[in-house]
């Protein structure tokens, strides 16, 4: 089926634009960049139709990549139904966002660089999704991290952007610490990294080993998918251009952790402790990030914390054994969150770079298309039936209720908060009076068209794509439960959130401020994101930096080691200068030394003689 064509096409786009794009016209750059991704999407569709039912994974082996000792890793791609879902999301949403970027980036410098990096990202993301073993997956995993770094720091003359890029890369590397160790464990204890072999052997391995592997993989997933305690890089990552936030930091890359843990289900089902940990990390992150989202004023920051929170939901699904529900939410979230970001990009574009909600307002008349499409995403994420978010979130919450009721209730509260902060942002941006100074204008059709498609998907994507049904044969089945009351409660929570937002920001605009003033301490704490960044800085970054500078470099290296080395040198020189006194050039002193030496020699010889004679007797 030539699966390799799927990632190679964007790679070719990257190489062409990267090497020669500087001399290309914008039209040519667009043709190469968008052409390669759309072709890749087309090839995905052709592959899917060609493969038919896909009851068993379809694998292609290209060459042996690493073969050493007990390690044998091929460059292999495989497609099963899970891969199909991911391929469609990545290339489909990817194509839309590429098209949108034509309009968004039209006035930015480094146009070819932007599209080259975006294509490179598509290459690595597709490698990640197509991989048939953990190491090839890791190639994509690291590669998307690199592209994320490059694109967060796209405006590289701004320090906060490059700082955010570094932070993203390094925090992800901390997660990769876990991922790499998990890989070593698998090679040593399961003897392979191929998905097929690992999953076949996993049931035979000890629970302790599988739990360790599962937890280490989870650490990797926490880095990539921005879960507690490694979520800190994602909000900062919003420094990148908005299409990047939509593609990489909402729809695709950050969901790689969910994909990877769901893919590893045969390991997790035999490691219940690790699975519980996933669910707990997920629900904790979902709740925690949602509370921060309540108080943010930067429109992109609101959606960034929302992403962290929604990713938490997906992990709850995986951790509760509802793997397909987690993937379902991944898909619907890709629709509505990409739309929210692209929509806010359209707003920012309209306001010439303004991102602060306090300087917006009343935009629904000035940018009606953006308003309408974003509204579709808002009702979807709020979990209002029958829109897409409702289906997947409901499936996850049901599974959570089966797993542990408290998770369900925490999830419901989070759902209410989600509806609140999303509609708060919507009301602040689009309702009331305009509070800014820029002359707002609607975005060009090339940006509106992708918004419209995503809006349609956000509305009907839930019942159009029944992902759990499609993946039913792949994952272990969960006990069926159709508890209407649980569903009603979560929907009610969503509606309550919307209503409260309406009350606070449309009906009685002064209410929010007086509430914030009343709870000043709490509000400041949440507004400043619980000071987690400051905490990490004080607890990790500063000790490492100061310890390295003061203790290791100045103390150990320059002081102790070099001090003693130079000390040896100095002592040798001192000894030499003492000995030099003997070389005075004065004949009398030499004569004295000769005499002294002769005496010593004679005494020694006599002593030896005596001892020898004595020994002979």
């Amino acid at each position: 089926m030539q699966l390799w064509l799927i990632p190679i096409l964007p790679l070719a786009g990257f190489l062409i634009n990267g090497l020669f794009g500087r001399r290309f016209s914008k039209g040519l750059i667009n043709a190469v960049a968008i052409g390669s991704v759309v072709l890749s999407f087309a090839w995905v569709l052709k592959t899917i139709f060609g493969l038919g039912e896909l009851s068993a994974p379809y694998t292609e082996h290209y060459f042996t990549w690493i073969q050493s000792g007990i390690v044998n890793i091929g460059c292999d791609f495989a497609v099963d139904r899970l891969t199909v879902v991911m391929l469609l999301v990545v290339t489909g949403i990817g194509s839309l966002i590429h098209i949108y970027s034509i309009g968004y980036m039209a006035h930015e410098g480094g146009y070819y660089r932007f599209f080259a990096f975006l294509n490179l990202f598509m290459f690595f993301m597709l490698v990640l999704v197509l991989a048939a073993n953990y190491l090839v997956l890791f190639v994509g995993w690291e590669g998307v991290g690199l592209c994320s770094y490059l694109l967060i720091g796209f405006y590289f003359d701004k320090k906060f952007a490059t700082d955010a890029g570094n932070k993203a890369f390094i925090v992800n590397r901390i997660g990769d610490f876990g991922f790499s160790l998990a890989i070593f464990y698998m090679v040593k204890n399961l003897g392979s990294l191929d998905f097929a072999t690992v999953f076949q052997r996993a049931p035979g391995a000890s629970e302790a080993v599988l739990t360790t592997i599962g937890l280490l993989l989870l650490l990797g997933a926490c880095g990539k998918s921005a879960q507690l305690p490694l979520y800190v890089w994602l909000p900062d990552a919003m420094a990148g251009p908005t299409p990047v936030s939509a593609l990489i930091h909402a729809a695709t890359m950050v969901t790689a952790g969910v994909y990877m843990t769901a893919r590893s289900w045969p390991i997790y089902t035999h490691a219940p402790a690790a699975m519980d940990t996933i669910a707990i990390v997920g629900i904790a992150t979902a709740f925690f990030a949602a509370t921060i989202g309540l108080a943010q004023n930067d429109i992109k920051k609101v959606f960034a914390y929302s992403t962290v929170s929604q990713l938490g939901y997906m992990f709850v699904g995986v951790g509760c054994g509802a793997f397909s529900a987690g993937i379902w939410h991944l898909v619907t979230h890709a629709f509505f969150k990409a739309l929210l970001f692209l929509g806010s990009g359209s707003v920012i574009h309209a306001l010439a770079g303004e991102q602060d909600l306090r300087h917006m307002g009343g935009l629904r008349k000035k940018t009606p298309w953006t308003f309408l499409t974003m509204m579709c995403a808002a009702v979807a994420i709020a979990g209002i039936p029958p829109f897409s978010g409702f289906y997947s979130k409901d499936a996850i919450l049901l599974a959570a209720h089966q797993h542990a009721p408290w998770m369900y209730w925490l999830g419901v509260v989070t759902a209410g908060m989600t509806a609140f902060y999303v509609f708060r942002a919507m009301f602040l941006a689009f309702f009331g009076d305009y509070r800014g100074h820029e002359h707002a204008h609607e975005s060009p059709p090339v940006m509106i068209a992708p918004l419209a498609i995503l809006a349609l998907l956000s509305l009907v994507g839930g019942f159009l794509f029944n992902v759990p049904h499609f993946l039913a044969a792949l994952f272990p089945a969960l006990a069926e439960s159709e508890d209407v009351s649980l569903m009603a409660i979560s929907v009610a929570a969503g509606l309550a959130g919307v209503a409260l937002a309406w009350l606070m920001y449309v009906a009685r605009p002064g209410m929010a401020d007086s509430l914030a003033a009343g709870l000043r301490g709490l509000y400041t704490w949440v507004y400043n994101k619980y000071y987690v960044d400051e905490l990490y800085d004080a607890a990790v970054v500063k000790p490492v930096v100061n310890g390295s500078r003061v203790v290791l470099w100045k103390g150990v290296d320059a002081g102790l080691i070099d001090g003693s080395v130079n000390g040896v040198g100095a002592r040798a020189r001192n000894l030499g200068s003492v000995l030099r006194l003997m070389q005075s050039g004065s004949i009398r002193s030499y004569a004295t030394w000769v005499l002294f030496g002769s005496v010593v020699l004679i005494v020694a010889m006599v002593a030896v003689e005596i001892s020898l004679v004595g020994g002979a007797r």
Partner: protein, 560 residues
């Protein structure tokens, strides 16, 4: 010429040097041209080594042997195996590229400079080819002299301090190593009644464990200073900072590998029992890990661009020694590969520094910033060098680090866990360096008019980038070349390792998938491994009597 290929490779730079001596010192361009041609010839002439090398053949190939000083038992004995092949190729390529990069950088005493480089080239190749300890020692010491002058004459402001420090440090190590060699030499005489420096003969000497340990530590000091392992590393930053660009490149890319090569070629095969001594292995592994983390942390704090890269070498070489002392095929193969990788990526990083130093004559990081605006080509090349050094998949560094860490993990999980933190820190110091020099706005007016890289400057990097991608994407030929020598070393140090199931699925190519695998369930495998861990480091008793003795033939890969 075929039977003398190794001698030809060894002596080509020397021949170039002889001609160079007769060129008039004033015609600098002629001298430059000649030195470039000679070193290019040195590289081209070494290419047939690759095509004539037979993968999977035991022992040394293309051997040349002649009596030299019969009364001492010293021979002119050259030979090549997979490990030395890769290192020789690295030497000839890096030698050529560093000479090429010196075209504008060296303006005074040009003739002497190139003469020193060609002499150095022969010395380094000799180190990797010699199979006679006497010959080896001559080359080992020969390398010291030109490097001393390169640092001391063409170096920076504190060049004398750095050169003397370099010289004394390494000389102190070599003297102890000489004592170790002589101990072996006389012990061999005691047992066999004739004097020889032939390594294959010395390997037959039967030493008590105590004697092996003492010789091991004597060798250790010599090699560890060269590598350099913590805490013998403090000569390195000074030498690097003061050396001219090409000197730093060769120092990092090739000279340091003499130490790791020494461990692999001499310490392990000659002193197998000491090498497997539990205390020794643990001390060396811990020193390696300390080197990895310590080097990275200190690197993080450097204000001097070159010093930063120098400390990163300490960290990277820590991976190489950790691989060696994992004492299993992955660790050792990964170590050799990482030695090559470090040569490529750190070589590139020093070349990068050289380019900017030629323009600004400062290495203070704070003098730079925003260079990406002024020198876009330079920014791309620096980025690739940085990513290769940081171990990004599909570039060379990842393959080496992964294999080493896998090997370390097989030996001891904790080692791998600690060493992986070096990978995190590696990203930190490199990205931070890149941010401070290349990104942001141009804050220093002096950087505004800097010219981007010229064609010659880009040309120096092209082969290195190509090599980095090749190793990253298709490293299989390298593992194939290394399998035989690595198997021999492991078999020598841990007799019976391969019979004991150390190689779980080494023979499992994609074509062989499914056969025999199902027979051995995963639980069996982990049980075997647990048993093996328990008996580490003693050789296994004949637990698996059914398997044939001797090292396994190279794995039948599916796509062969």
């Amino acid at each position: 010429m075929d039977q003398h290929l190794l001698s030809i490779v060894l002596l080509t730079p020397m021949a170039g040097l002889l001609v160079l001596l007769f060129l008039p010192a004033k015609s600098k361009n002629l001298i430059r041209l000649w030195a470039n041609l000679a070193s290019l010839a040195g590289f081209l002439i070494s290419l047939p080594l690759v095509s004539r090398f037979q993968t999977g053949v035991a022992g040394f190939q293309m051997e040349e042997r002649a009596d030299w000083i019969p009364t001492l038992g010293a021979h002119y004995h050259l030979g090549i195996d997979g490990i030395s092949l890769l290192l020789v190729m690295l030497t000839t390529l890096m030698g050529f590229l560093s000479i090429l990069s010196s075209w504008n950088a060296i303006q005074d005493r040009t003739k002497e400079y190139y003469a020193m480089f060609l002499l150095l080239q022969t010395g380094m190749i000799g180190v990797f080819l010699a199979l006679d300890f006497f010959l080896f020692y001559i080359f080992w010491e020969l390398v010291l002299v030109p490097m001393y002058f390169i640092i001391g004459v063409w170096g920076g402001p504190r060049k004398l301090y750095a050169a003397i420090k370099f010289f004394l440090y390494t000389l102190a190590g070599s003297v102890l190593m000489l004592l170790g060699i002589l101990t072996l030499y006389f012990q061999h005489f005691k047992q066999f009644g004739f004097y020889t420096f032939e390594i294959s003969d010395l390997m037959k000497t039967d030493l008590t464990l105590g004697m092996q340990q003492w010789v091991f530590w004597a060798f250790f000091v010599g090699f560890a200073i060269k590598v350099p392992m913590f805490p013998f590393h403090t000569w390195l930053p000074d030498a690097h900072v003061e050396a001219p660009t090409a000197g730093s490149v060769i120092l990092a890319a090739v000279l340091l590998k003499m130490g790791t090569y020494g461990f692999l070629r001499f310490s392990l095969p000659l002193l197998p029992r000491a090498s497997m001594d539990k205390t020794i292995v643990e001390i060396l592994a811990v020193l390696s890990i300390v080197g990895i983390i310590y080097g990275a942390l200190v690197s993080l704090m450097q204000q001097d661009w070159k010093k930063l890269v120098a400390y990163s070498s300490v960290s990277h070489l820590g991976f190489c020694t950790l691989g060696i002392f994992s004492m299993n095929p992955n660790g050792i193969a990964g170590s050799v590969l990482q030695q090559i990788n470090h040569g490529i990526s750190t070589g590139m990083l020093f070349l990068v520094i050289g380019i900017i130093y030629e323009r600004r004559h400062t290495r203070e990081i704070s003098e730079y910033g925003g260079l990406g605006h002024v020198m876009p080509r330079f920014a791309v090349i620096f980025a690739i060098a940085m990513l290769s050094s940081a171990g990004l998949p599909l570039l060379n560094g990842f393959i080496g680090e992964f294999t080493i860490l896998q090997g370390a993990f097989e030996a001891n999980r904790a080692w791998a866990a600690f060493a992986v933190t070096g990978v995190i820190l590696g990203a930190a110091y490199l990205l931070w360096l890149y941010q401070r020099t290349m990104l942001g706005q141009v804050t220093n007016g002096k950087n505004l008019g800097l010219p981007d890289m010229s064609f010659r400057e880009v040309a120096v990097f092209v082969p290195l980038i190509a090599w980095a991608i090749w190793i990253g994407v298709y490293p299989k030929p390298y593992f194939d070349i290394l399998r035989q020598p690595v198997t021999e070393i492991v078999e020598r140090v841990r007799p019976g390792y391969f019979q004991a199931g150390g190689q779980i699925n080494g023979g499992q190519g994609p074509g062989a998938r499914g056969q025999g695998e199902a027979a051995r369930s995963a639980r069996d495998i982990s049980k075997t491994l647990r048993a093996e861990r328990a008996s580490f480091p003693r050789p296994r008793p004949a637990a698996a009597a059914g398997t044939p003795p001797g090292p396994r033939p190279p794995a039948p890969g599916g796509d062969r």
